[in-house]
Symmetry: C2
């Protein structure tokens, strides 16, 4: 039976212009079925929910598995939406483990009253992200909660990737003093894009989220640089949170040079205006790489050949902690001073991803 015919035979079609999610769409009954058929069939691909279409070719190498929930607000923002973000985020989590992403699953928790046309917009964004990244969503789930018990849509994506047999797992334990720290481009774009959109701020140019899938960049880096020790994406908590956690976990300190940290001029201006440190702002298409000193320049050159690494930079080094001090992250300021980059305990910008 064709999909078109299946849908027609099950009841009147959904009104994708003005229709709203109601509790029956989460019942597991006919209406749930219809919702998935009409909104998500392009993403899930299966003609029938109960089709066992989740048998996947087993890869050669160790598996890597990561999961992430997305509660970003607003759902649509300059440079992306919760759909593309949720795929990029999980693809990047796998990539940061040195893995080649293979398969994704997606699960929706939808609030009663959510417009079907917005759900369709998210579904189309997922489809486009599948095409752009080459990573397919294999299976999914939808649940509905009452009005006031959710907030539009929450998405959880989970990914499975493969660590090629010749590749060593990345590990915090590999990080050593004198290692060099790189980023693949300017920081804080996602945080400012969301914040500006929430606050209805008009900057001269619209700042776009940097949301992007980094798996082809990391693959290139891992293939070309044997001295790469560790990768991490500075999402929630920003560069500062990411490096503080690494410092805390390894017992090593980190010294950054503020002049070398790439920032877009408009992001820097927005941060000054708003009194926000760009280094605590979330990024969704950036990575921190830590590599041995002897291969840092090669790695930088390699990164710059990739479209997502054109503005890559060496920003600092790993150092032994001073005996009497707790490990810390310091920033050399443009005026030659040094300040400690603290690990944020509060939340400057909730629901950024």
């Amino acid at each position: 039976m064709s999909l078109e015919k299946s849908i027609r035979s099950i009841g009147p079609r959904l009104n994708l212009e003005t229709g709203l999610i109601d509790m029956t769409h989460g019942s597991g009954g006919k209406n749930s079925y219809q919702l998935v058929k009409e909104i998500f069939s392009d993403v899930f691909g299966s003609a029938h929910l109960m089709d066992k279409n989740n048998y996947l070719k087993a890869p050669v190498g160790d598996l890597v598995m990561t999961t992430d929930s997305f509660v970003v607000s607003p759902l649509f923002f300059p440079g992306g939406d919760i759909g593309s973000l949720s795929m990029h985020g999980t693809i990047n989590d796998l990539a940061m483990c040195g893995a080649q992403p293979l398969y994704l699953t997606i699960s929706f928790i939808i609030e009663e009253g959510f417009p079907l046309k917005d759900l369709l917009r998210i579904s189309k964004s997922l489809k486009k992200t599948q095409e752009d990244t080459g990573i397919k969503i294999q299976s999914g789930d939808t649940k509905v909660v009452e009005r006031g018990k959710g907030d539009g849509v929450f998405i959880t994506t989970t990914g499975v990737g493969i660590l090629p047999p010749s590749r060593q797992p990345l590990s915090l334990q590999a990080i050593k003093p004198k290692d060099v720290i790189l980023v693949n481009g300017p920081l804080g774009d996602h945080g400012i894009a969301i914040l500006a959109h929430r606050a209805h701020l008009d900057f001269e140019t619209q700042i776009q989220s940097d949301s992007a899938a980094l798996h082809t960049l990391t693959e290139q880096m891992l293939t070309k640089c044997s001295g790469l020790r560790y990768l991490q994406d500075p999402t929630r908590g920003g560069l500062s949170g990411c490096l503080n956690e690494i410092s805390y976990a390894t017992g090593l300190s980190i010294e950054l040079d503020s002049k070398k940290i790439p920032l877009r001029t408009d992001v820097r201006a927005a941060c000054e205006l708003l009194g926000i440190d760009p280094l605590v702002l979330a990024n969704e298409g950036k990575l921190v790489a830590i590599c041995s000193a002897d291969c840092a320049e090669d790695l930088l050159r390699e990164m710059k050949t990739h479209s997502l690494g054109q503005n890559a930079a060496i920003i600092g080094t790993v150092v032994e902690s001073v005996e009497s001090q707790t490990p810390r992250v310091t920033l050399r300021t443009p005026y030659g001073g040094q300040k400690i980059l603290n690990w944020l305990s509060g939340d400057q910008l909730p629901r950024i991803c």
Copy 2:
């Protein structure tokens, strides 16, 4: 550094008696770190969040991957809680594909103000379920949303399993007329347990959810019965929803014998009192098996040897649909009549799982 020392060095310990979740626990900063350390370290097992501890031994055979969000209300109910339920649910989804479950991930969306002691209770339940089922949670995520934008805790679990190389994938296409339909025990327990708890109904005996992991039962069934065509767990939508969807997708009809469908006496009584059809109630430890007629008795005997199949029963058969009719599920009543089991379009009992 020992976990104990890590936690102390990061700040004052959480108050697990009276403390509440706040937005900083979702910041990705120090407080997120502390939350995971103190509440979930037993479940996640890693000393540091950024430790790449999600490298998994690659199995031999095709992979199966499923995901499911749990928004059950209440979070704690007779016979289980959202923690055990979320693990059982995803283990069962894998088992219904004929797969051996290997790895799980878990993601929490927590509402601001949620009591830490309840989160700890869920964490302990997850730990116990890991021990009981032998399936480990490999990685996880936590997000926090503002008060009134969630409802306590939502959990999404995703699982990866393996289809042993000698085993054929299960498929709707394998189902044929004259095939026999079995269930592994009495239906509707989960639905009534949740409903009674929500409505503060006192029955003579407390009805417990049937929430359970079915992977050892399915493994036994798949190993012993080569005529097994298809497995499905009748969760949301109950037996009626499950069989209607199978009928709709295959174009075949299904005839059930109401006398043979196992129901607990107290569940039957509760359903009569409440005017609810037990066949639309959700189950969380039940499966529907469809097998060739010649091996049905053997399969039934095999199921009865397993603790989760002691009350298994043959309940009906698959038949050709009458040419002029749409495929349908019918129930032979105790008085010899026949009624059509409709596919629920509404939702009798929202947020049952």
